[in-house]
């Protein structure tokens, strides 16, 4: 019983820290401080995921939620003109009314959640998933759900990512690049980037039987791209624009190819044939990893990279007859 009390104390501590860091991130007057608190919050959330038995999520949260999100917000801070870094929360009677409303809403939500989860003997998907796991081609249940049982949802998610990156590309050129790195960062980069690529490959392979998978591996590659950009590489590790376009759609293309070929052989869309599931999942995951990595790097870059050739039908937004 000592062990459960200690675990309970740890849980209460983590919960209070979560709320405290969330509060600090949301109501700090200095935007820089808010961003740093947000990064710390992301890392704490990764620990909470590990505590709740979600190691895949812990990896993804640390890499994407804290790491890439943090880098993105820090780069956006750089865009902000200097005077607006002090961000006052609105004051006044309307603001107090909104706060009160949010408190009431939150209490009602909390009560509803409490009543809803206090259900006797609920039906859990976990048993059904573990029952079907042996035929799914992988032994990591999260990968099985993502790429076999709910593969269609993952396909649509890759489409959402593509839509976001198309929006980012359409909105303008990239953020200002960084100057070439000094010897220290250059040396660090030379060690980190190959290591990140190796780890990405390992996570992709290990995703079939251990925590990992395409999303975490894509995030590692994106981190390598971000490091390259910070070290002065204007391409951020991306290939030439024509290749980047192909890589961006390769995730969805792999899904569609596999799905259509299963349909040709008489099954449903994305219903893998017996014995082939593991191989097909690895194929789709590889393409998805590259697509996710390119998407996240372009998201960090913030727009069209250098040398992105304009098409003949591009909008003339600036109105001066040029390509933009």
């Amino acid at each position: 019983m000592m062990a459960t009390t200690l675990w309970m104390m740890l849980d209460v501590l983590l919960a209070l820290l979560c709320l405290a860091l969330g509060w600090a991130a949301v109501s700090s007057h200095d935007l820089r401080r808010s961003v740093v608190f947000f990064i710390a919050f992301g890392l704490l959330l990764a620990i909470v995921w590990a505590r709740l038995g979600a190691p895949d999520l812990a990896l993804a949260e640390a890499a994407i939620g804290a790491g890439l999100s943090g880098a993105l917000l820090l780069a956006a801070l750089r865009d902000e003109p200097g005077g607006t870094l002090d961000d006052d929360v609105s004051r006044g009677p309307l603001a107090t009314a909104v706060s009160l409303l949010v408190v009431v809403l939150g209490t009602v939500f909390a009560w509803v959640v409490w009543q809803t989860i206090d259900v006797a003997d609920p039906v859990r998907m976990a048993d059904r998933i573990s029952g079907e796991l042996s035929g799914s081609g992988v032994s990591n249940p999260v990968t099985a759900v993502l790429l076999n049982f709910r593969a269609y949802d993952t396909l649509l998610e890759l489409a959402v990512l593509l839509a976001a990156v198309l929006g980012i590309l359409a909105l303008g050129p990239a953020r200002t690049p960084y100057q070439p790195a000094g010897p220290l960062f250059d040396g660090l980069m030379r060690w980190l980037v190959p290591l990140l690529m190796l780890t990405a490959g390992y996570l992709l392979w290990a995703g079939a039987h251990a925590p990992g998978g395409a999303f975490q591996a894509g995030a590692m590659l994106a981190a390598a791209g971000v490091i390259l950009r910070l070290g002065g590489d204007t391409n951020s590790g991306l290939p030439r624009p024509g290749m980047v376009r192909r890589v961006l759609v390769s995730g969805i293309a792999a899904f569609l190819l596999v799905g259509l070929s299963t349909m040709i052989t008489g099954r449903d869309f994305l219903e893998y044939p017996d014995g082939w599931a593991g191989t097909l999942i690895l194929l789709i995951e590889t393409a998805a990893m590259l697509a996710i990595a390119a998407t996240l790097v372009l998201a960090y870059v913030g727009g069209r990279p250098d040398g992105w050739r304009e098409g003949p039908g591009d909008l003339d937004i600036a109105g001066d007859g040029g390509p933009r």
């Binding site: 000094g182 220290l184 960062f185 660090l188 060690w191 290591l195």
Partner: protein, 93 residues
Amino acid sequence: MTEAFALALLVSGIGFFVAGSVGILRLPDLHSRLHALTKADNLGLGLLCAGLALLEGSLLIAAKLFFIWLLVLAASAAAAHLIAQQSLRQGTK
């Protein structure tokens, strides 16, 4: 026996982390705070990794933890250097 030793390592590691955090809060300027941050936290992490490796007992896991410590060492040293260089350039304290 190993558990007691591992517990001692973990507790001292946490002690170093606490010392580093107190240093960040109480030291007067940026450079001394960087000092507290990198030195105390790196040593604290090393002791934590050693304690965890003892608890696990497997050589592979100990090697992985050691490698993680080396990576954090390199990253925090580089970050501290870059921060200090930038602050010298900008003249911030």
